[in-house]
């Protein structure tokens, strides 16, 4: 007999968080402790040898963090997850686990700017070769792959163009080359899309964004589908006996859990960017309302995008949920419930119009983040991308008048009222 397949909303509330067996506490307890008392010396040895699942030290594992990890793993459909101090820490941990000098990574060019910088700097220092490709161009993906390629990477919903990723096609290409495919699912969340179901091998999140949902806590998480064959001869870094554990072979001993065990007990242990238990508590609590929030985020973003595309003072709205989007077929396949709530639009008046627009707003918070319950706005040309020339901006797909919005869960008519104030200010200043 099969166990019940619980629905997504049920799992957002329950997965990973059973009542505490000792105290009966119903809410997730915050285990604010660095370390754990061993039952006896033999148990301690079994924990350190990985012969037994046990808590040793909170840089490597913590019960509150574990509840958050299991919740995300469950929602994404993975065999498990490892949490990190931030989204970028999660990504760098995967890079450090998989790659060594001489290897090659192929990545979408439509990425969060911090990821582009991370890849360039970190991989450069590791002497790992890197190629950026247009995520919409399957031929470009194919052409970029070389015998040294060890990882393909992209975001479900790209930045700033709202590119929708053809996950199944790229996963197939990756697997044809015995390569894993990693997807940053931050903008979609597992409520809107589950890349592992479409063949991706690893999902990463900046949990800082929609998973937490309230702009309180940094966090990142790596989820593994568990069936990539690390013993295919191309990944000695993963498959070879580990000197750190007396020659243990992770995939042989832990099967489908091997990669995650290695990620935790080697990479997280050594790089040390652990998630704090308090952040895990807030992020796990945030996930309990993920379906409710995402429905409101998506509905508001759609209304706002439609409003903006009808305005004469707006030249381009890069929201893939619009009926005119070139991504319609991919949206219907991968994101039928909506394409998230982060998108860009362009003001024709350049840098000056961007500033006037932002200055005139009341409700939108001007800051560098996305995925908060509150609506957020930023003008990349005068903030995050200020150092770039107009030509460099254009290469990043950003115009001088590009505005990025992260639509919150307020009343949509209030958001439209506020954006109208911004558009009016551009008009009177031009």
């Amino acid at each position: 007999m099969k166990d019940r397949d619980f629905g997504f909303a049920t799992r957002t509330v329950h997965a990973g968080s059973r009542p505490d067996p000792t105290t009966g506490a119903r809410a997730l307890p915050i285990y604010q402790t660095t370390s754990y008392v061993f039952e006896d010396t033999e148990s301690a040895a079994a924990y350190f040898n990985l012969q037994e699942y046990g808590n040793t030290y909170s840089r490597i594992m913590n019960p509150t963090v574990a509840a958050f990890e299991e919740r995300v793993a469950n929602l994404e459909g993975g065999v498990g997850a490892v949490a990190f101090a931030s989204g970028l820490a999660a990504q760098s941990a995967v890079l450090f686990t998989l790659l060594r000098p001489g290897d090659h990574v192929v990545t979408s060019s439509a990425l969060y700017g911090g990821t582009v910088t991370q890849f360039k700097h970190v991989l450069g220092k590791l002497s790992v070769k890197l190629d950026f490709v247009d995520p919409d161009d399957m031929d470009a993906w194919r052409a970029a792959i070389s015998p040294d390629t060890k990882l393909l990477f992209a975001e479900t919903i790209g930045n700033p163009g709202g590119n929708i990723l053809d996950i199944e096609a790229i996963a197939k290409l990756a697997h044809d080359h015995d390569c894993p495919f990693m997807v940053d699912n931050t903008f979609a969340t597992p409520y809107l899309c589950r890349p592992l179901d479409w063949g991706a091998d690893i999902v990463v999140h900046s949990a800082t964004k929609f998973l937490g949902g309230h702009g309180t806590s940094l966090g990142g998480v790596v989820v593994d589908r568990g069936d990539f064959d690390w013993s295919n001869g191309r990944f000695p870094v993963v498959a070879d006996p580990s000197p750190a554990y007396h020659g243990l072979q992770f995939h042989e001993t832990f099967g489908v859990y091997g990669f995650l065990m290695k990620l935790r007990t080697e990479t997280l242990r050594d790089l040390g960017a652990a998630m704090s238990p308090f952040n895990a508590f807030l992020l796990a609590q945030g996930i309990e309302t993920l379906p409710l929030r995402m429905r409101q985020h998506v509905a508001n973003a759609q209304v706002v995008a439609e409003f903006l595309s009808a305005q004469p003072g707006v030249v381009k709205v890069a929201h893939p949920g619009l009926a005119t989007s070139i991504y319609r077929p991919l949206v219907e396949k991968y994101l039928p419930e909506g394409t998230g709530a982060v998108f860009c639009f362009d003001l024709p008046g350049g840098r000056q119009a961007g500033s006037s627009f932002i200055e005139a707003l009341t409700l939108f918070s001007h800051l560098a983040n996305v995925g908060d319950a509150k609506s957020l706005v930023i003008h990349p040309a005068s903030t995050t991308h200020r150092q770039l020339s107009d030509e460099e901006l254009a290469r990043a797909g950003i115009a001088t008048g590009t505005i990025r919005l992260s639509i919150g869960i307020e009343d949509s008519n209030d958001l439209i009222w506020d954006l109208q104030q911004g558009l009016d200010a551009c008009e009177s200043n031009s």
Binding site: R18, R26, N49, Q51, Y53, A66, E70, G247, G255, Y257
Partner: protein
């Protein structure tokens, strides 16, 4: 990617797994004396969790300080579960032995896939679990797998462990 030819889900039923985990005498066939082998990890874990582990390996005389038997037929006392770490080609013959010694479950570890063995064991009245790890399933339902962020797939608002 692993090619799945056998309908494995049939042999991975949660109620069968939980029922088997309550029975404590486990013969581990192909148990290695090498601390780094998966079979050794599983055997040691089961011992720690109160199982009466019976090592089966013709090349060893003692593992974990316990007498090692060359084959199932040599074990003097009855056993409940036959936990197998052997090549799939030899597993049908093992299934015959498991039926002969009156075991209640044939449990084939990760990658030990044999439809023929499953049919022999089922016909002999045994439960069959295939391509599952006994350590992991114990940790999932009874133990502490959730302490390391793994997806146990178990959901319950009850304080007791799931049945």
């Amino acid at each position: 990617m692993r090619v799945k030819l056998v309908n494995l889900e049939r042999y991975q039923q949660p109620d069968v797994i939980r029922r088997t985990l309550t029975r404590l005498r486990v013969a581990v066939v192909g148990l290695s004396g090498n601390q780094l082998r998966a079979s050794n990890f599983v055997g040691y874990y089961l011992l720690r969790h109160g199982y009466d582990v019976v090592p089966i390996n013709p090349r060893e005389s003692e593992i974990f300080g316990r007498r090692c038997f060359p084959s199932l037929a040599d074990v003097p006392e009855p056993v409940d579960t036959i936990n197998v770490f052997r090549d799939p080609s030899v597993v049908p013959a093992l299934a015959e032995e498991a039926v002969a010694v009156g075991a209640s479950c044939l449990w084939l570890q990760f990658g030990v896939i044999s439809e023929q063995a499953a049919e022999i064991a089922s016909a002999g009245g045994l439960d069959v679990v295939m391509d599952r790890c006994m350590k992991i399933e114990h940790a999932r339902y009874i133990g502490r797998m959730h302490w390391l962020g793994f997806n146990t797939g178990t959901i319950s608002a009850q304080r007791r462990t799931p049945r």
